[in-house]
Symmetry: C3
Subunit: 271 residues, 3 copies
């Protein structure tokens, strides 16, 4: 990619992250909160986990962006998610939806249907989640994907067009589309699905990037995924398993610079 204001490159956005330390409101699940916060801090952003409806809407006007992940739902949290998303919309702040295992129960399906009506700028999920969001038959049961990313590319494109959102499908090779443009992102490590909250933390990082590029959600998403892929590839070089991978991943993200970001991830332009 050539960097310009309307089409910023991952490394340009990454440099801005380090310079501006955007405040990101994350409404995420109990499993992911700690790792997601450490991911944002290592990347240079400032995370804030603020979920209750008594304050989630007010905080969404202060934060640069909002992320909503439905991993460990309950009714009061759903109210907080909706209040925050509505407030983000009113304040023209972008928000990111992570529809964890939304096909698994009626409560999840209903919640995601309500959240989709609140116009997320970006939707990030695994292949099973994106296929099911597009109305297809996925092999997923729980939170782990049962489908390869390639099988979700068509569903992602349709979803991006119908929802006027950027859609990211993450897995061995990631796919990002805004309905017109589409790229694949290569990098990362086979160990990543073996560490809980990696996907949820990636959603948080997408929020951090779109906070600094609210008018370029496609580029922000690509930058977040490339950053994750690069840090994952670096961590894999020295990890002995998923425990040390998680530690090295945070170190790698903290130590990442533009050169390593470009060298350790690869963006394949499809359209």
């Amino acid at each position: 990619m050539t960097n310009d204001a309307t089409n910023p490159t991952p490394s340009a956005l990454f440099a801005q992250m380090r310079d501006t330390s955007p405040l990101v409101q994350c409404i995420t699940n109990y499993v992911a909160m700690n790792f997601a916060a450490n991911t944002l801090l290592a990347a240079g952003a400032s995370p804030a986990m603020v979920h209750t409806p008594e304050e989630s809407g007010e905080f969404a006007t202060i934060a640069g962006a909002l992320t909503v992940n439905i991993g460990t739902l309950s009714p009061q949290w759903v109210e907080g998610m909706k209040a925050a998303a509505q407030s983000a919309n009113q304040a023209n702040k972008p928000w990111v939806l992570d529809p964890v295992a939304h096909f698994a129960t009626a409560f999840r399906r209903d919640t995601v249907a309500e959240l989709l009506e609140l116009n997320p700028a970006i939707i990030r999920g695994n292949a099973s989640e994106i296929i099911a969001l597009g109305g297809g038959e996925s092999a997923g049961q729980g939170v782990d994907s049962g489908d390869p990313v390639e099988q979700a590319e068509e569903a992602a494109t349709t979803l991006a067009q119908s929802r006027n959102a950027v859609v990211a499908v993450t897995g061995t090779v990631d796919f990002v589309t805004d309905g017109t443009r589409a790229v694949r992102i290569h990098g990362g490590s086979d160990l990543m699905p073996k560490i809980t909250a990696m996907g949820c933390s990636l959603t948080a990082l997408v929020g951090a990037f779109v906070a600094i590029a609210p008018n370029a959600p496609f580029n922000a998403t690509v930058a977040a995924l490339a950053t994750f892929a690069a840090a994952g590839a670096i961590a894999a070089d020295t990890a002995n398993g998923p425990g040390s991978f998680a530690v090295h991943f945070i170190d790698a993200l903290y130590g990442l610079d533009a050169n390593a970001l470009n060298a350790k991830s690869r963006i394949e332009t499809l359209s």
Copy 2:
């Protein structure tokens, strides 16, 4: 042990775990969620943290097994636990109870009394918890055990008989009984009580093993404890303290094979 369908060995069950990746619903405490999920992923299982009564019962019919840990209770979570346990019973799915510090407050005592009525297949606790469940005087105050495992063996046997459940008491040397058979499991490390959520994560792993052997809860429990003991012994060889132990433990669990499982844990048959 000789492996056969009704009396499977730890290494046979461990191989099945890797092959089948059972889906395990964990209703556990906020402290343990991340480590418990990483424990299950490293062992080869697929964890799902689904707790709210709006969906916990529905999800229990999908999962291979359910685990319930009362570490950080509140009334809505208790409703979710009960709905999930009832649903697991109706669907003939085994469930595991971890009665964290149940003697500490009236709310905990009442909750555990209600949960016991829902027929857990397996109960896992530390010595203080199992002694107190059996009606004895324990030295426990908070979540850490104040009693040695040996002092809980009699209470465990009585509890197993009265509740028709497998009971596991974990500590320096673990004890497992179904009221007739009884074994001790040796291995692990003195560092393990110095890392929070080790016991809660072991409960989750018991759930993963019983998901693949629902008709052999005694063997499943022994297999989970032997797996934990082996990974703990391996991690201790290279840890510099509880921080690195936790990291190495996940790596060791991920890298474990049948040989290391048998070499690094020892099962002493008592009856």
Copy 3:
């Protein structure tokens, strides 16, 4: 400092921690729970996360001290915090307040105002939080401080006097005052703000120290901060980034002794 019963030194209190393993009730946020529990275990204390109003007050009479951190608030948790603080007061147990980002929303401001009326023995915050508690204009937005500690020293002194509490402002150099006495504590590492929950875990550790010295909250706070500073300085020697820092920090805390505590932290007496 010269050690005596009314003015105990950090190393004297640290030795007592290892000997007596105080039970500490922590009502803290979802992000911090795991790391805070591991911090207390590594230091030698016994953490218990008990938050719901149905049991938080009862548990506060059993624990040696209580800590309250408002990081991830909701109304039911506020009720639990208040019940626990009231009960701690009645039982003459000291409690510690950590007013995370209390200036960010009306809900937070109101909650902290209510909690302050319940007479915390110790208040610990970052510079932005303490300046705002004193009624000043802080540069903070989210949970990360936007102000240097030195700018909060005056606000801390005023707050300590008006609330009859010990006030600790933590950052690159920490400041502790009871309104009369004041010290600065040097040590730690620049990496510490890059790891989430470090401040929250320090609050928990302050609770552990004041549990063993309920009549010397100033000394207990200084001891906790010196312990943290020493472990942080040791961890920084071998860390490659915030991921490995967090691991080494727990190892360092676990391995700490009186000599290292004194060698790796420095207490500057101001008054």
